[in-house]
């Protein structure tokens, strides 16, 4: 078969030029974003890139992910095959046959098999999308059967079919097919043909393959399949910190606070928006989306992309975009109700196969609304003022903070004398239900001989809620004051009984130079159990226990085992699991400052979770967080299931020790 090089070369040049131009245009768009350092720790970044991108770690977390895994690797290997194919089209003398025979044969075999794998994968994907589409693939702006998705699948299938036909025709014409089992099998069907017809099949197949390949390449940067180009770098440039720890802001006259225009996002945020694979996994897990709120993390990313594309040409010329980033619902704009619906549970960031940071973008936009516009749901006004004036969400007098300890006598923290600073937190200090947990933990520590002390009225709120709500200015002040206090008092180890305090002290305060050991009480109790420091004379009988993961303990800090170990030690039995647990756990609805807001749109998140709990018919719903405690107790009341008790792991443990 003779290839018409003089026809192919100009076609190739045009296709490559338009492809490069499209990519350049997209990169220029990314470059309008603000600077952000995502170049540190190259070794760690590379390692992650290999496991997330090449290892498809998160893709494989779901059963269907295997299909993408095969398609991805087939694609990677066929890159070599297609490279060779294009070179053959360009240079008459080029041929893989010039390679040493074993290598050449090995490659032929590989390409042949892998092409079949790709074809089967595409067929499975096609059938899945058309016949059994999972609900989360579709939403208000796309559907599993979207023309684009099906077109791409059809193109890949065409490439594979053309590849096989080309090879089969050549084998039928007498080329050796020993190393191409699939093509050889197909060649047997071409036995009836000879001479010219075979020649024509080969030529047509070659050209179909060539044209579809060049078209496919050009479609990539202009479709959701852009992720084929951006996903790997996106994994490299991922956030090395936990994604709920957002960058600090500098409070200087003239600075901007938060994001109100797409170009104020960092370049990485914009790269994220071009990397979404539309897999829908974040949408599937998002508690807000699942309960009828206008928030969909995938839509946030999508709207940022649409906004960037729509405003792009103006921005590249230094002009202003016309489509508002925050505004009435519509493609390219994010509705404020959506931004306020986020519980910062982190389900989206922990499930995204290409490590897009959806929730941090929401926080950035909240920062703008709160700090530059002073616009937020009205319930928050009280919260903010209470936080600023009295450093607790309820506005209770700070002098009442240490009162819970009255029964235990004075327990001040003294550097050098007390092992742990017990950072009680606002809920543990003021909320009447959470105070029982505080006392339970204090009792456990006493019985285990751990010395601890509190800061009493000097303790301040950790600032978790205000930070997640976008009130960075107030958070900044609280964090600085707390860190200064910890340093001044010589604190080296902290135990908290609230995952929000825990995560904030442990992760967020690092940005303020706090490098101390911070433990959540589940970790400390589990450690004491392991060290045999807890005498457990009787197993606590709590009936059937179902354990609810706190997002800020679990997903945000990967602490899934410790609370379960505590329950097991106290009751002799591992707790029963929710359908959605651990990494896939479902928020109680109180994170991200939602604890202090009305939930007016859609159904209530805590009810959804409580209903899921009741499916297990538990006697006790066990939690490890004061917010979860409130939400679960309220939910059980509303569901008329007050026979189910809500207990913190510390309470369960304290009962086993009594």
């Amino acid at each position: 078969m003779a290839i018409n090089h003089s026809l192919f070369i100009p076609l190739f040049v045009v296709a490559v030029a338009t492809f490069c131009f499209s990519c350049y245009q997209r990169l220029q768009l990314v470059a309008v974003g603000a600077s952000e350092n995502r170049f540190d720790n190259p070794a760690e970044r590379l390692a992650g890139m290999f496991s997330y991108a090449f290892g498809q770690k998160r893709v494989l977390a779901r059963p269907y992910g295997f299909n993408h895994f095969f398609l991805f690797w087939a694609f990677m290997l066929l890159l070599v095959a297609n490279g060779a194919f294009l070179l053959e089209g360009l240079f008459p003398s080029f041929s893989l046959a010039a390679l040493p025979a074993p290598l050449h044969h090995g490659l032929e075999f590989l390409f042949d098999i892998v092409s079949l794998v790709a074809l089967v994968s595409v067929a499975i994907a096609f059938v899945r999308r058309v016949l059994f589409p999972p609900a989360y693939l579709g939403n208000d702006y796309t559907s599993p059967r979207s023309g684009e998705a099906l077109l791409i699948l059809a193109m890949i299938a065409t490439l594979m079919v053309a590849f096989f036909l080309l090879n089969a025709a050549q084998i039928a014409m007498g080329q050796p097919g020993n190393w191409k089992p699939v093509s050889s099998a197909i060649a047997t069907f071409l036995d009836g043909f000879s001479g010219r017809p075979l020649e024509s099949i080969a030529t047509v197949s070659w050209w179909v393959h060539a044209v579809v390949l060049l078209l496919f390449m050009n479609l990539l940067p202009r479709s959701k399949h852009m992720h084929i180009l951006t996903a790997i770098p996106n994994c490299y440039f991922r956030s090395l910190d936990k994604p709920n720890v957002q960058p600090r802001e500098e409070f200087k006259v003239g600075n901007r606070f938060g994001v109100s225009k797409v170009e104020q996002f960092s370049w990485k945020d914009l790269l994220d928006s071009l990397s979404c694979t539309e897999c829908g996994r974040c949408q599937d897990l998002c508690p807000a989306h699942n309960t009828g709120k206008p928030l969909n993390p995938r839509r946030i990313v999508h709207d940022i992309k649409v906004n960037l594309l729509d405003n792009g040409s103006a921005l590249k010329h230094g002009d202003r975009g016309v489509v508002p980033l925050i505004g009435p619902q519509g493609e390219g704009s994010n509705h404020e109700d959506a931004l306020w619906s986020c519980t910062t549970c982190g389900a989206c960031t922990s499930v995204c196969p290409v490590l897009i940071e959806q929730m941090p973008k929401i926080i950035k936009m909240r920062r703008h609304l709160v700090q530059e516009k002073a616009r937020f749901p009205e319930e928050l006004l009280n919260l903010f003022e209470n936080m600023e004036q009295r450093s607790n969400p309820w506005g209770i007098a700070p002098s009442d903070r240490g009162k819970w300890a009255a029964l235990l006598g004075e327990r001040p923290f003294k550097a050098g004398e007390t092992d742990y600073l017990f950072f009680v937190g606002c809920a543990g200090s003021f909320d009447s239900r959470a105070k029982h947990v505080t006392v339970a933990l204090a009792t456990i520590l006493d019985k285990a001989g751990v010395s601890w002390g509190i800061l009493g009225r000097e303790e301040q709120c950790c600032g978790d809620s205000v930070r997640r709500l976008g009130n960075e200015f107030v958070f900044d002040k609280m964090a600085k004051e707390n860190v200064a206090l910890f340093k001044e008092r010589g604190v080296t180890r902290i135990v908290t009984q609230c995952p929000h305090c825990f995560s904030t002290l442990k992760n967020d305060y690092k940005q303020y130079g706090l490098e101390v050991e911070v433990l959540h009480h589940s970790e400390l109790i589990a450690k004491l159990v392991e060290q045999g420091k807890l005498k457990l004379p009787k197993q606590a009988d709590q009936g059937k226990i179902v354990f609810h993961d706190s997002c800020y303990l679990g997903r945000h800090n990967d602490t899934f085992e410790a609370p379960r170990a505590v329950i097991k030690a106290a009751t002799g039995k591992a707790p029963v699991e929710f359908e959605r647990n651990q990494e896939n756990g479902f928020c109680c609805g109180a994170g991200g400052g939602r604890m202090w807001m009305e939930e007016q749109i859609g159904s209530r998140i805590n009810l959804e979770r409580v209903k899921e709990a009741l499916k297990q018919q538990p006697d006790t719903l066990c939690v490890s967080c004061p917010y979860c405690m409130t939400m679960m107790e309220d939910g059980l009341k509303d569901e008329g299931a007050e026979q189910v008790r809500v207990k913190d792991i510390a309470e369960v443990m304290a009962e086993a020790m009594a």
């Binding site: 606070f257 700090q371 903010f384 003022e385 200015f473």
Partner: protein
């Protein structure tokens, strides 16, 4: 035209305790806040600025640390903030406080006509509710107390119509400018400062007027100008409340009883 909001810095009284031995307020380490009613006086000044283009000014009499309170007013958007501070003003009762505030308002009025002076209904520390009416009397302005709604401001006819919140009824009153209005909390929802405004406020100049500026007779200000003095402060014995209804047996009926009780004590609005 000016709209002037009088704001007072007060100790956060939820945190104030009375020393059982000396019977004086323990103010040590107690943070200061803007008198809660005054945040509404300030907000309404800013509202009129936004709606009618008036120039809003915040004034406060107090020791030098009162500057912090005035900076908060700047962060919320007042055009000018003035601290009235002089050793001679110290120890003032309501009479001499209103003397100083009136003098400052008069001085501002000499430059630009004063339309409305907003005061809180009362403070949470002194609790007298006298300063607003005192200013009106001294300046000869119409006094409109306990206002919970501004019906309209007519700058052509120079009149304002307001709604007063009285026990069990409302009263609509119209008055010619200038007026002193004392406000209740229902009037508005105070705004929250934006960060750029807060940062700018840190650098804004808060003017300080002492008696060399106001030139008041020292006999009429501060302790000397104060005919009232406190002879004793003490915590009253708290009466035990009563238990009404049967919450376990009849939760609904008990809730109704409670609501009636709260309504009769004017603790709940219908």
């Amino acid at each position: 035209m000016l709209v002037i909001s009088c704001i007072k810095q007060v100790p956060d009284t939820t945190q104030v305790k009375i020393d059982p031995v000396t019977n004086t307020l323990v103010r040590e380490g107690i943070p200061f806040i803007v008198n809660p009613y005054d945040t509404h006086a300030l907000e309404e000044g800013l509202n009129l600025k936004d709606r009618y283009g008036l120039r809003s000014v915040a004034i406060s009499m107090g020791p030098p640390n009162t500057e912090a309170t005035l900076r908060k007013a700047c962060a919320l958007g007042v055009d000018e903030a003035i601290l009235l501070s002089d050793r001679a003003f110290g120890g003032a009762d309501t009479l001499s406080t209103s003397n100083v505030l009136s003098a400052a308002i008069e001085k501002l009025g000499a430059e630009e006509s004063v339309g409305i002076v907003f005061c809180g209904k009362q403070t949470i520390d002194g609790d007298t509710a006298q300063v607003g009416p005192g200013i009106a009397t001294r300046l000869g302005y119409t006094q409109l107390t306990l206002v919970d709604r501004i019906e309209f401001l007519d700058l052509k006819r120079n009149v304002i119509r307001v709604r007063r919140k009285l026990e069990g009824r409302h009263e609509i009153v119209e008055a010619p400018l200038p007026v002193v209005i004392t406000v209740v909390r229902e009037l508005n929802r105070p705004r929250y400062p934006t960060v750029p405004m807060r940062l700018a406020a840190q650098e804004t100049e808060v003017k300080v007027w002492d008696n060399s500026v106001l030139k008041l007779d020292v006999e009429t200000v501060g302790l000397k100008g104060s005919p009232t003095w406190v002879s004793k402060i003490f915590s009253p014995e708290r009466d035990k409340g009563e238990i009404i209804g049967d919450g376990v047996g009849d939760p609904e009926g008990t809730a109704n009883l409670l609501i009636d009780k709260l309504l009769s004590k004017d603790l709940l609005a219908v």
